[in-house]
């Protein structure tokens, strides 16, 4: 039975097994699932919600679902631990109510969306550098302050922040005063929310958010504006909260602050956690459980909070991937993806054929702009008198070096503590430094994100691959072309986004082929061997055609075969015109790939020249083995 499903996988209607003509993220049938959900709810309405009382509950569920989806983007995807969603709901509810009395619901809705955008953008900007715990209690503080303000503003929110006079939603002059009418309107809002959400899921935003959440520095080094992205998702999630509150007020026609308490805030957490924090569909299931379960177990009404608490506690321990994890396990059994099939057969998840959408051959090198050995008009990389101080200690002391030719490979050697990695961090803008770093004669900016745009790509000492993403997605994150990778591309300019995406896929696949990993394009990067993760990082580094590729101990942890493979690859890239700065230890490796070597000790340059010259220099031997004449002090 399972076998049959696998074999039919590619040929089920609506491509239920996934459309192999697209990369993995886009294979998922978002629209289908959303449509199925909406239709199911609409059709089952007379069956499951036959009377006003149950329909009331269904409406409540859908309203909370909107807030839950917003929270999913804020907390599940962007990873920001926030308690302010209930406050946003209150803002939406009261603002809409205030304006709706005179101008109708829709005006109120627009105003509350505007207010929440402004409010949360300011708040998000103020707190952009704050780390997780402080951010969380800052949102708690905001919520407290906000609710208190509402309670003290009778002219806006009513005496005691209670309003009885909220007009219902009107469509084309018709007041939606019945549960049934409200149901269709709310369902419409849910459809719109799902659409906006799906547009985000089916766009570069998803992979960027997950990358930023898992490996922030590496994401920034790839050129991503992490702060901006997280802020946008935070604000979007907040807007959904406000919308949810607006509908709540109009539907109930009564609003008090009681409902926007800690219980609802925890309920939102439970919704996202039950679903598995990386799944949009999980929120639907989670919200249904949060809303319907206590109602079903009438006898346990009293124990409702206790059950929430228990769910939160045990859910976190036992089911870290939530319901979506279970769903995934089922899907893998019956409709496995190609790489899962390959992995299941005792393989490592690699596929035998290239992706069907890939036009290149992967053998030709990434187009070199210059031939090797061409002396560039200005040095490709120039480091001038760079010093880095950590609390009084000079980790790097007035170091200068230059990379002048295309295809040149410069090695940086030195014992433990000599400042090699710190120097790399300075060049890449990760630590502050004095002195200047120039790429092609232009001073580089001092932030990782802009350094990448200036033409420097970096691979780290332990490979920073994004574990939740496939290999192709990992490389895509490093793409130089960042057009239409944001909300505009996701929501408004989708055709343009697709165009650029296809070009990006092409380049990313070519980079993967270059390092020999094309067959893993669908495999999640966390399943790769260490050596392959190294190669993946390098692929991500070269996809943006950098001026200089900076590598930090690339051969560390590799066995002989992997080291040889890596040396071959680096030689080919250098011949193709790529300029490389590499920190290394192994004498054979350095001999093989480096044209020149610079030796550091205690932050200073102590020798420079060809590898042979440097290894033979007496001060280098002393640096590694220890100095004579300690007794002479």
């Amino acid at each position: 039975m399972v076998d049959l499903a696998r074999r039919l996988g590619g040929r089920l209607p609506f491509g239920l097994g996934g459309d192999p003509n697209l990369p993995l993220t886009y294979q998922r049938r978002h629209y289908l699932t959303a449509a199925a959900f909406v239709v199911a709810v609409a059709l089952s309405m007379p069956v499951f919600f036959p009377d006003d009382a149950s329909l009331h509950l269904a409406n409540l569920w859908l309203i909370y679902l909107i807030a839950g989806i917003g929270f999913y983007f804020m907390f599940g995807l962007a990873g920001r631990f926030a308690f302010c969603q209930t406050f946003l709901m209150a803002v939406g509810g009261y603002t809409t109510a205030y304006f709706a009395v005179q101008r109708g619901f829709w005006v109120g809705l627009v105003v509350s969306i505007a207010v929440s955008v402004v409010l949360m953008t300011v708040f998000g900007l103020l707190l952009r550098r704050v780390e997780e715990f402080y951010f969380a209690i800052a949102t708690l503080a905001l919520t407290n302050i906000g609710i208190e303000v509402l309670q003290n503003w009778p002219s806006f929110a009513g005496a005691n922040a209670t309003r009885f006079d909220i007009p219902p939603i009107t469509i084309l002059g018709q007041r939606l005063a019945t549960e049934m009418a409200a149901f269709w309107a709310i369902l419409g809002f849910v459809v719109l929310t799902l659409l906006l959400g799906i547009f985000i899921e089916r766009s570069p935003i998803r992979r960027q958010t997950l990358a930023a959440r898992d490996r922030r520095i590496a994401a920034e080094m790839s050129g991503m504006n992490v702060q901006g992205l997280q802020l946008r998702l935070f604000v979007f999630g907040s807007v959904l909260g406000a919308v949810s509150g607006a509908i709540l007020g109009a539907w109930q026609s009564v609003l008090t602050t009681d409902v926007f308490g800690i219980d609802l805030a925890v309920g939102l957490f439970v919704m996202v956690i039950i679903g598995g924090s990386e799944s949009l569909w999980g929120v639907i299931i989670g919200s249904a459980i949060v809303v319907f379960l206590p109602n079903q177990l009438q006898a346990l009404q009293e124990y409702q909070s206790l059950i929430y608490g228990a769910i939160l506690l045990f859910g976190v321990i036992l089911m870290p991937r939530g319901v979506a994890g279970l769903g995934d396990s089922l899907r893998t059994r019956f409709f496995p993806r190609r790489w899962e099939v390959a992995a299941g057969r005792g393989g490592d998840g690699s596929l035998e054929s290239a992706p069907p959408w890939f036009k290149g051959s992967g053998v030709a090198p990434v187009e070199p702009a210059h031939g090797p050995d061409d002396e560039a008009s200005s040095p490709l990389l120039e480091v001038r008198e760079v010093s880095v101080a950590f609390g009084g200690v000079l980790a790097v002391d007035r170091v200068s070096l230059q990379l002048r030719k295309h295809g040149e490979v410069l090695g940086l050697i030195g014992p433990n503590g000599s400042g090699k990695t710190t120097l790399l961090n300075a060049i890449c803008g990760i630590v502050p430094y004095s002195g200047t770093v120039l790429v092609r004669g232009r001073v580089t900016p001092r932030s990782p994100r802009h350094v990448s745009a200036a033409g420097i790509s970096r691979a780290f000492q332990s490979p920073q691959v994004f574990p939740s993403l496939t290999c192709l997605e990992n490389v895509l994150v490093g793409s130089a072309d960042r057009e239409f990778t944001g909300l505009t591309g996701a929501w408004i300019a989708r055709p343009q986004m697709w165009r650029h995406e296809r070009a990006r896929w092409e380049k990313a696949a070519a980079a993967l082929a270059r390092v020999g990993l094309l067959r893993y394009h669908e495999t999640p990067s966390r399943l790769l061997t260490y050596g392959h993760q190294r190669l993946l990082e390098i692929a991500r580094g070269i996809v943006s055609d950098p001026e200089v590729l900076v590598l930090d101990e690339p051969s560390a942890g590799l066995n002989k075969a992997e080291t040889d493979n890596l040396a071959d690859l680096l030689e080919e890239l250098a011949v193709g015109g790529l300029t490389i700065l590499v920190v290394e230890h192994k004498i054979d490796f350095v001999d093989r790939i480096c044209n020149r070597v610079v030796a550091l000790e205690a932050g200073r340059v102590i020798a420079e020249g060809t590898p042979g010259e440097v290894w033979r220099a007496p001060q280098v031997a002393e640096a590694y083995l220890g100095r004579r004449g300690i007794a002479e002090g």
Binding site: P415, N416, S462, G557, K586, Y624, I630
Partner: protein, 238 residues
Amino acid sequence: MLRVEGLEIRYGRVEAVRGIDLEIGLGEVVALLGPNGAGKTSTLRGISQLVDYEGTVRFSDGDLRGRSPQAVARDGLIHVPEGRRVFANLSVHENLQVGLTARGSRDGYTIDEVYDLFPQLKLVRNRPGWALSGGEQQMVAIGRGLLGAPRLLMLDEPSLGLAPRVAYAVFDALSRIRERTSILLVEQNTLLALELCTRGYVIVGGRIVLEGSSAELSNRGVMLEAYLGKRTAAETAS
């Protein structure tokens, strides 16, 4: 007293230690040498049960597998890790006092004896850890280890980051300690290490590539090549 057989350590997918055998007898002073990243620190961390490993570690004929690091310390196998790791918020004296935790009922250095060994510490007795110089911190770390009455003291790179004069002072103290305590010393500075120790192992790439007496290991040419991976012990002509 300490016997390590077939030690293998991996961090995720990276093999840091690929099969190491060591033996330290009672009263010995042994060096563990090798370049950065060779696996020396990982070896010590495996022995003191801070990380998972494969193979066997026996201390005083008891297998250490499954014991907690604090139990191992209380047994007398004291690990002074690299980076000194003085408790920043405690004063020098309090740091030393905490070192007594591992002592149990064994005999060993008293606090006064530690102050005799490191007279500079008397002057900064009440200064908090974060305000100490590198050399002072190293002395505190060693003194703290000594107060646990070690049967074997494992020191990880005590000279790292210290000015030459200071490193010399530290090793001077160590030469007095070695009369009372067995020592396993991990060091990058081979000269200092070989002056103190009677024999040593050289670890490169997670494996032992050379071992011998201090005299044998003092051949700089051979050592440099072993460090930089040009040849393995098997290929070393002699």
